[in-house]
């Protein structure tokens, strides 16, 4: 019997959890250079003892690092907060409660990201 095994095409309606799942994975691939790069550089290679306010300011003000940090902020925190949402989803079974928690998480995520973004974008190098 000759079977041309054609893949069958079907329409699957997009779902939020599906998008979140995909997001978790693609962001993860990006987070390897971003998050690992950041932590290896700051916490291991440079080390907290060598970080001063000036160092921090100058680094954050540097254009290259600014873009890097913005990307890190955007991807890591959103990845992480969605992770937290998924974890809560496992333990909270009342839809209303979960909706409430999601909204709180969204607000927290937004505020913290906003604070971080303002700091990153507005900061000027120290002239000395």
């Amino acid at each position: 019997m000759t079977t041309t095994t054609q893949p069958e095409k079907v329409v699957v309606k997009k779902n939020f959890d599906q998008v979140a799942w995909t997001w978790m994975r693609y962001s993860a691939f990006l987070l390897i250079p971003l998050a690992w790069g950041h932590i290896i550089l700051q916490d291991v290679v440079v080390g907290v003892h060598n970080i001063t306010t000036d160092y921090a300011i100058n680094r954050m003000a540097n254009m290259g690092w600014k873009i890097y940090d913005i990307a890190l902020l955007g991807f890591a925190f959103a990845h992480g907060m969605n992770g937290v949402r998924q974890v809560f989803r496992d333990y909270i079974h009342k839809p209303e409660t979960f909706r409430l928690v999601s909204i709180i998480l969204l607000v927290v995520w937004f505020l913290i990201t906003l604070v971080g973004a303002i700091a990153l974008l507005a900061i000027q190098p120290v002239v000395s």
Binding site: T3, T5, K9, V12, D17, Q18, D90
Partner: protein
Amino acid sequence: MQIKLRVFRFDPERDQKPRFDTFMMDVDPNDRVLDLLEYVKADFDSTLALRRSCAHGVCGSDAMRVNGRNYLACKVLVKNLGTDQITVEPILGLKVIKDLIVDMKPFFDHYRSVLPYLINDDPLPADGKERLQSPEQQLRFEDTTKCILCAACTTSCPSFWSDANYVGPAAIVNAHRFIFDSRDKAGGKRLNILNEQFGVWRCRTAFNCTEACPRDIHITQAIAEVKRAVNTGRIE
């Protein structure tokens, strides 16, 4: 050999709380754990309640936790456990009714929710004979046809422990069995069902299911294939 068997006991008509009964017994290393429970019923305490039927791993009655891990009691031998201390408890995540018997209703409800039956309204072959299917097409879904609905997988799944609304690996396995059957026409419907809140995305690839499956079904693989089909909209 001499073993110490601890068995989870709970009688809803008498006990406030579950307890463990301990039995010291002399057994053959080739005995099944199910045999030990039968010895308990025969010689120690005939009130012990459990489900069992085929005694050789094909009916799916006797999934339980043996030394903390899901098995069919009739498919695990004393010698496989490598110890003389054996603890038997009901599977986790379904309500205990009595001793080792749990309420299977939620499990079967999940199973039913994925349309676990062939759907094909096309006319049958004119000669009244079989619909053709090549050996390759049959092999595509053969693995997941082996499921005996024992619930060992679903009740070993961390996602199911924390949220019993998750359809669970067994239901996904049974959906897979039809989604990838070349004769079936409702794969899309099932993928849409599994794309919902309580569907495949709840699987965190913890892999306990595959480890627990007494039929050696590649459950996590099947789930991944379903996830992929949901994402790509292609059943191949």
